[in-house]
Symmetry: C2
Subunit: 265 residues, 2 copies
Amino acid sequence: MRHSMTGRNGGADLAPPAPFDPVVILVRPQLAENIGTTARAMANGGLFHLRLVAPRDGWPQPRAWYASSGADRILEEATVFETVDDAIADLHRVFATCPRPRHVIKPVMTARGAAAELRATSSRKLKSGILFGPERAGLDNEDMARADTLIRYPLNPRFMSLNLAQAVLVMAYEWYLTEDTVPEQYLMTNETHVATKGEVENFMTHLLQDLDECGFLHHEQKRPGMIRNLRHLFARGEVTEQELRTLHGVVSELSRARKIRHTKG
Amino acid sequence: MRHSMTGRNGGADLAPPAPFDPVVILVRPQLAENIGTTARAMANGGLFHLRLVAPRDGWPQPRAWYASSGADRILEEATVFETVDDAIADLHRVFATCPRPRHVIKPVMTARGAAAELRATSSRKLKSGILFGPERAGLDNEDMARADTLIRYPLNPRFMSLNLAQAVLVMAYEWYLTEDTVPEQYLMTNETHVATKGEVENFMTHLLQDLDECGFLHHEQKRPGMIRNLRHLFARGEVTEQELRTLHGVVSELSRARKIRHTKG
């Protein structure tokens, strides 16, 4: 996978912000780099709105721009608030990320469930936000009391260790997936196309004819089973018209070589 | 969310490796730090087996351990190969991550679809692996020709920019999810429990009695509708027995204060 695309992602390439898409709210973030990598993670999932509550080192910070891999527009449009209450005042629905919530009575959703809920909220033209806590301490109890719902990432309970940008990335990925329509599996065929059953049969006829000529199928009793086995092999998944042309060529060339050998011999 | 847990994750905490869980194969990785952050990402999703093909700076490298946040055992058990062919020789099924595949005829799966396939492969006791390319260039055409299936991450086509550990994290997360059984939403209740309908009705009786006493429900025609509205509010989602006790207290205290005022007045 080509991972880093720095320089290829101009701010101009980002989708125009949709007003009811979720707001990512970083609560008391410590390092400007992490604000930049958060913007990069957001852009991957098509999220745009970023709010900062009391960033430790002030705002703006050039180091955030260096770390954002070109997600500049997100940083340029980010807004700063003094308190969580200020940052969520205009929102209708607030989620808080929290890996090991304790001593609270609160709905808990998986990242996937929360993404579906965020999408539903957006389509009702209600504004939503997701709180992410500071790098080390995480959200405190006062922050969490302001959220409607906690988000739990299903991850290895023996080793749960995400950095801030990774935590944002998982939510951005799940958000993007809620509207992704690409099938879970398909055959990428590029310039060619999936072969029709007629095209496959045409190749089978060619193959069987040459195999008959060279005597591979001479055993009358075994012949039907051998042919069926070959059919099973070519019917296992999709094969393309281009691949069949290659196979026609392979069979023809192997036959030709045999015939030349026979003529010489 | 508490993000970094460095030092809390001793290698001893990692789950014992399952022999048919997928192998993460880093092809020609450049930076040792990225091998370490890859191990950390793997541990989050419960993946254990790591193979390195021709790591640029040799192996082992202390910087990988510094970057792994305690996923030491994964690094200690990592094995090194000279070529991709060597690294996959004992595997039955190989996936390759590839964000923008071109000019290949190959099945393409989403990360989610691939995770389900990896789980199915594992349960058939077949060994599988996932190829991740070098940081800048990604997998080359020869690498990809050795994979059965390409994995496409559904992400913003206008801004797709994952670093190596993030790419591994998405697959590790999807792998973990294939066996996660926690419901998409539930009410975390800790020491208390979701209230029964009888407990809710008990509170409603208390509330209505006090509201009748103070005259809030005196309008005979509006009374049934007002009561229904209150019922709707308390029936909107789950409420806990502890919260009802608090509400009983709130109502009693407000009533007591009113009665004292009345007595005084």
